[in-house]
C-alpha cells in the first residue's frame, strides 16, 4: 500500500476577516502528481504556503508522513518553489551553482559550512535538471526556463520527498514549458518524487497530472482527470468568475 505523504485535515485560513480556505481536507500519496486548479483568489497558493510552513492555518492540521507539521521545525522533506520565483533582483551577483548550494542551508544547520559532499550533491542535482554546463553563469543571464530549473534544483538538492510548485510555468515560453513537464516526469520516475502543483491552467494541468484537486475556498473535486468533468466542476468552483464573464457579454 502506498503511504500518505501529506494529509491535510479541515484546513481553514483567514486573511483578516475573509475566509480563504474552508475546511479543506486532502490526502496525497507517495509518487502522486496532484494538480491544484481554481480561479484567482481561490486559496491555491495559500494552501501551498500552509503546507510549506510559511503560513499557519486558523484551524485544521497538516501531517507530513503521519507527523504533525510545526512551522518552527525545519522540514527538509518538503521542497517549495514559490510563484513568480523568477521575479528576483536580476542583477544579483550569484551563479547557478551558488544558488543551488543555498538549498542545503537548512539541512546543514547553523554554523556548518558546505563541504565536498554538498558540492557533489549540487553537481548531481544540476546534472539531473540539465544545468550542469551553466553552473558558473550568473542567474540573471539565464532564460526564464533555465532560471525556473535553477530554483527547482535548489529545492531538489535537499532531497525532498514532496515538491510543491506554485504556478511554475508562468512567464516561461511554450518550448520551455514542454521541457519543464518532461523534467517533472523524469524526476518522478527517477527519484520517486511526489509532486503538488498549483496552476490556473486547467487544460494543461489535466494533461499532465495524475490527480486533480479543484479548489475555490472549498475543495470541490479530488480525483483523476478523466473523472473531472470540467464543465460541471467549473460551474461550481468558478461560480463567481463565470458570472463576471456573463456581465462582460452584455
Amino acid at each position: 500500500m502506498r503511504l500518505p505523504v501529506l494529509d491535510l485535515d479541515k484546513i481553514t485560513f483567514y486573511y483578516g476577516d475573509r475566509m480563504v480556505l474552508d475546511r479543506v481536507s486532502l490526502t496525497v500519496f507517495s509518487g502522486d502528481f496532484l494538480g491544484i486548479v481554481g480561479p484567482n483568489g481561490s486559496g491555491k497558493s495559500t494552501l501551498l504556503k500552509i503546507i510549506a510552513g510559511l503560513l499557519r492555518p486558523a484551524a485544521g492540521s497538516v501531517r507530513v508522513f503521519g507527523v504533525e507539521r510545526e512551522n518552527s521545525r525545519r522540514e527538509t522533506r518538503i521542497g517549495y518553489v514559490a510563484q513568480n520565483v523568477t521575479s528576483f533582483n536580476q542583477g544579483f551577483p550569484a551563479t547557478v551553482e551558488e544558488i543551488v548550494l543555498a538549498g542545503l542551508t537548512a539541512s546543514l544547520g547553523l554554523l556548518r559550512r558546505p563541504g565536498r559532499r554538498e558540492r557533489l550533491l549540487v553537481e548531481e542535482t544540476l546534472e539531473s535538471v540539465g544545468l550542469a554546463d551553466l553552473r558558473e553563469r550568473l542567474i540573471g543571464e539565464l532564460s526564464g526556463g533555465q532560471q525556473q530549473r535553477t530554483f527547482i534544483a535548489r529545492a531538489l538538492v535537499a532531497e525532498p520527498a514532496l515538491l510543491l510548485l506554485d504556478e511554475p510555468t508562468v512567464g516561461v515560453d511554450a518550448d520551455a514549458k514542454d521541457k519543464f513537464y518532461e523534467l517533472l516526469a523524469t524526476l518522478r520516475r527517477e527519484r520517486g518524487l511526489t509532486l503538488l502543483m498549483v496552476s490556473h491552467d486547467v487544460g494543461v494541468v489535466a494533461e499532465q497530472v495524475q490527480n486533480i484537486a479543484c479548489l475555490n475556498g472549498k475543495l470541490y473535486f479530488h480525483g483523476p482527470p478523466a473523472e473531472f468533468r470540467a464543465e460541471d466542476m467549473l460551474c461550481q468552483a468558478y461560480g463567481s468568475a463565470v458570472r463576471i464573464l456573463h456581465h462582460g457579454d452584455h
Binding site: K49, A52, G53, L54, R73, R74, E75, T76, G79, Y80, A82, V85, F88, N89, G91, F92, P93, A94, T95, E98, I99, L101, A102, G103, L104, T105, A106, S107, L108, L110, L111, R113, P114, E127, S128, V129, G130, L131, D133, L134, E136, R137, L138, E141, L142, S143, G145, Q146, R149, F151, R154, A155, A158, D173, D175, A176, K179, E182, L183, T186
Partner: protein
C-alpha cells in the same frame, strides 16, 4: 629629504592604518548584504542614531563610542519591534528612527551648549587621533562581526537572495536577521571613528556598488568589495597625509572614484564577460545540446 612612506614612523599613523584596515574589512562584510537586500538606508539610520549616542557621551562625560554602540543596538531592537510587532514598512521604520536619532542628537548638542571639537571629530572622522583604546575596540568588534559573517555566510546569502525560500526551507531567518542587524549596528559605530558619521554609510555601500559592476559570482563580488574598500582606505589615508586633506573624505572619494572607473569599464566593454557567456551557451546548444539526455541548456 622625506620619503613617501615616512609616515609609518609615527605611531598615530600606524594606529590609523590598522584601524582603517579593520574598517575596510568590516564595511563590505556587512555592506554586501545590506546593498543586495536593498537596505542601504540602514547604514544612515545607525549613523544618525550613533550621533545621538556620541552627543550623549560627550554631554555626560562617558566614552562616546560606548554610548554610540549602546544607542545603535537599541535602534536595532526598535527597528525589529516596529517591523514585526507593529508591521511598519522597513523604509518607514528606518525614517522614523533616523528622525528620532537626529532630533535627539540636536537636543543633546544644544544642551551641552557647544559644538565642540570632540563632536566635530566624530562627525567627520578622526582616524589620525585614534587612541590605543579605540583601536582595541575597533579590532574586537571587527573580529566579532567577521566571525559572525563567516559562520552564518550560507544563511546570510540565502536570505539576501530569497528570504521566503530560506524561511520555507527551514532556515532560522528571524534569528539570523536579528544578529545581522546587531552586527550592522556594531560595524557602523566603530567605523564612524575612522570616516566619520556623515560618511560611514558611504564606505558600506560604495565599494560594494563598485564590486557589483564587475563581479561574476557572489564570491568574486565579495572579494572585489574587500579589495576596493581596502584600497580606498590605504590610498585615502596616504593622500590625506601627503596633501593634508581630511582622511574620511579622501577615503570615500577614492571609493567613489573606483566606482566610477568600474561603472565606466562596464560601459566601455559592455558586459564583455556576459557576451562571452552567451556565445558559449549558443555554441553549447549547437554542438552538444542534443547529446544531453535531460532537457538541457538549449532553450535560451
Amino acid at each position: 629629504m622625506t620619503g613617501l612612506f615616512d609616515f609609518w614612523a609615527y605611531t598615530f599613523m600606524q594606529r590609523a592604518y590598522l584601524a582603517g584596515l579593520v574598517v575596510a574589512v568590516l564595511c563590505p562584510t556587512i555592506g554586501i548584504y545590506l546593498v543586495l537586500r536593498r537596505l542601504s538606508m540602514i547604514g544612515e539610520m545607525f549613523a544618525h542614531v550613533s550621533l545621538a549616542g556620541v552627543a550623549l557621551g560627550i554631554f555626560t562625560g562617558v566614552y562616546p563610542l560606548a554610548t554610540a554602540l549602546g544607542f545603535s543596538l537599541g535602534a536595532a531592537a526598535v527597528l525589529e519591534t516596529l517591523r514585526r510587532t507593529y508591521r511598519v514598512f522597513t523604509d518607514l521604520a528606518i525614517a522614523i528612527i533616523i528622525s528620532a536619532g537626529l532630533s535627539l542628537a540636536v537636543v543633546l548638542i544644544g544642551l551641552s551648549r557647544a559644538f565642540n571639537i570632540d563632536l566635530y571629530s566624530y562627525l567627520f572622522g578622526s582616524v589620525l587621533a585614534i587612541s590605543p583604546h579605540d583601536l582595541w575596540l575597533v579590532t574586537a568588534v571587527g573580529l566579532l562581526v567577521v566571525s559572525f559573517s563567516w559562520l552564518f555566510q550560507k544563511e546570510l546569502f540565502f536570505i539576501a537572495f530569497d528570504e521566503e525560500a530560506a524561511r520555507s526551507s527551514g532556515v532560522a531567518v528571524d534569528l539570523v536577521n536579528l544578529l545581522f542587524v546587531a552586527a550592522t549596528a556594531l560595524t557602523i559605530s566603530v567605523s564612524m571613528r575612522v570616516v566619520g558619521i556623515l560618511l560611514v554609510s558611504s564606505l558600506i555601500t560604495v565599494p560594494v556598488a563598485a564590486a557589483l559592476q564587475l563581479g561574476r559570482s557572489f564570491r568574486i563580488t565579495a572579494v572585489l568589495a574587500y579589495i576596493f574598500a581596502g584600497f580606498s582606505v590605504m590610498f585615502g589615508l596616504f593622500v590625506s597625509y601627503h596633501a593634508n586633506l581630511a582622511p574620511g573624505g579622501s577615503i570615500v572619494l577614492t571609493a567613489v572614484l573606483i566606482f566610477v572607473l568600474a561603472a565606466g569599464s562596464r560601459k566601455i566593454f559592455p558586459r564583455g564577460g556576459r557576451l562571452h557567456a552567451k556565445n558559449e551557451i549558443l555554441r553549447h546548444s549547437e554542438n552538444e545540446g542534443l547529446q544531453n539526455h535531460t532537457p538541457a541548456a538549449e532553450d535560451c
